[in-house]
Symmetry: C2
Subunit: 227 residues, 2 copies
DNA sequence: TATCGGTATTTTGCATTCATAATTCATAAT
DNA sequence: ATTATGAATTATGAATGCAAAATACCGATA
């Protein structure tokens, strides 16, 4: 029997889950904001049933808080969350780097090199928005090269949970330069297929990012303990 | 303001989620088995609404597969899943070990030592069931000592997903001896608070477990590609 | 003015209902 | 006998309805 052709059988609650997730990621629904079921239903033009199913899923992803009998709120990421999640991300990135090293071929390396060069170009132009997008693309590509879907999924889930962080990233120029230097090393280790070194570099790169974020949020004067 | 006292405000869908998860873990619902909504509703004495909400959550945890318009089935773990998930577990265990090392005090070490000795006792008596339970307890304790709730949660989630594996573990005596030896080393590294070494040991311990499982399932003659 | 108490309103959780897609079963055709 | 076709049955997806809890409102009292 051939592999089953998946014909897109969409259903409302999945669609709504995706839509809601997007709204939270895009900041349409702000962290801490209360989610009024009926209002959202009207907005989407659907009934409460599929919406509530979507809320359950997003809650289990950690994107919203669901308190019994008191409704849903968009999850606020705290400094404790960042302290906890970044080391995990670091461990996952380290693993991804190691696996990727073992599996890349010359073509993959050329592809990554191209992405890397593009990002360096954005850095040279100080195009922060483009830089961040390309940076993310590079990390995602390394995960893809690791050929471990479960790993990629976990990575994405953590990225999603700490989405709010991207707003405070790259505050000062020195941090940005440090991150760029780390990326150059990462590219180098990968080109040499040095898995152990790449693993260490990626873990430390994430740890560095974490430290830079933590520092940024300490002297930043935004909300008290939400980032 | 003091920390809010959470008074247990139970609701049906959470209860059902927990119950269903337990049924899957206990094997009451076998991997691959179709989950008939109405049958389960009658069994629980509830309506379909909370049950379906529970199914969505379990699907997002990877415990069941949910195909649009064709119902839910208990997820079957494949060899590919094991190949993917164990390295992730290894990375998480490694991180847990490192963090735990940085945070344990003498009392924690004594506690772990006690658990370790009990497990060794079970090994001496060849009490496999008790051994496995204590083994799990030790790993969970190390995660608890790491003081990273998000990390513990991810670990638990992966453990849950690969629950089916425990049935094929510890097949041969040599493997068991190897695992026991590794545990002795782990205990030692922790007592010495050698984070780097503990991290490496725990990661390799998981890798070893993975290899032993993979081998066991290769020469085992159970179902073709489900473990 | 601020706080308390009680009622009205809203919101949540769950059951029920309805429409539609999927499956089953019987029948016909090869 | 086996496969195809179509009607009957069943299951899923989503909307609606209803009871109970939480919140908002409002006047009374200190």
């Amino acid at each position: 029997m051939t592999a089953p052709t998946i014909v897109p059988r969409l259903n409302l609650h999945d669609t709504v889950t995706t839509a809601l997730r997007g709204m939270i990621l895009d900041g349409v629904l702000a962290p801490g904001e209360k989610i009024a079921e009926r209002a959202l239903c009207e907005r989407f033009g659907i009934s409460r049933t599929p919406l509530r199913e979507a809320l359950k899923v997003l809650a289990s992803e950690g994107l919203i808080d669901l308190l019994p009998r008191r409704g849903a709120t968009v999850a606020q990421i705290t400094e404790a969350d960042i302290r906890d999640l970044f080391p995990i991300m670091g461990a996952l990135e380290g693993l991804a780097g190691e696996l990727a090293c073992a599996r890349v071929d010359a073509r993959d390396i050329r592809h990554l090199r191209a992405l890397h060069d593009q990002m360096m170009d954005s850095y040279a132009r100080r195009d922060e928005h483009r830089y961040l997008r390309q940076n993310r693309k590079i990390h995602e590509t390394i995960f893809a090269l690791a050929r471990n879907p479960a790993l990629s999924e976990m990575y994405q889930q953590i990225l999603t949970r700490i989405h709010a962080c991207r707003f405070i990233l790259k505050k000062c120029d020195r941090d940005w330069a440090a991150a760029v230097a780390e990326h150059a090393e990462i590219m180098d280790a990968l080109a040499q297929r040095d898995g152990a070194r790449l693993s260490r570099l990626m873990r430390d790169h994430i740890a560095g990012t974490s430290a830079r974020i933590a520092l940024a949020s300490l002297d930043g004067n935004e909300e008290r303990d939400a980032v």
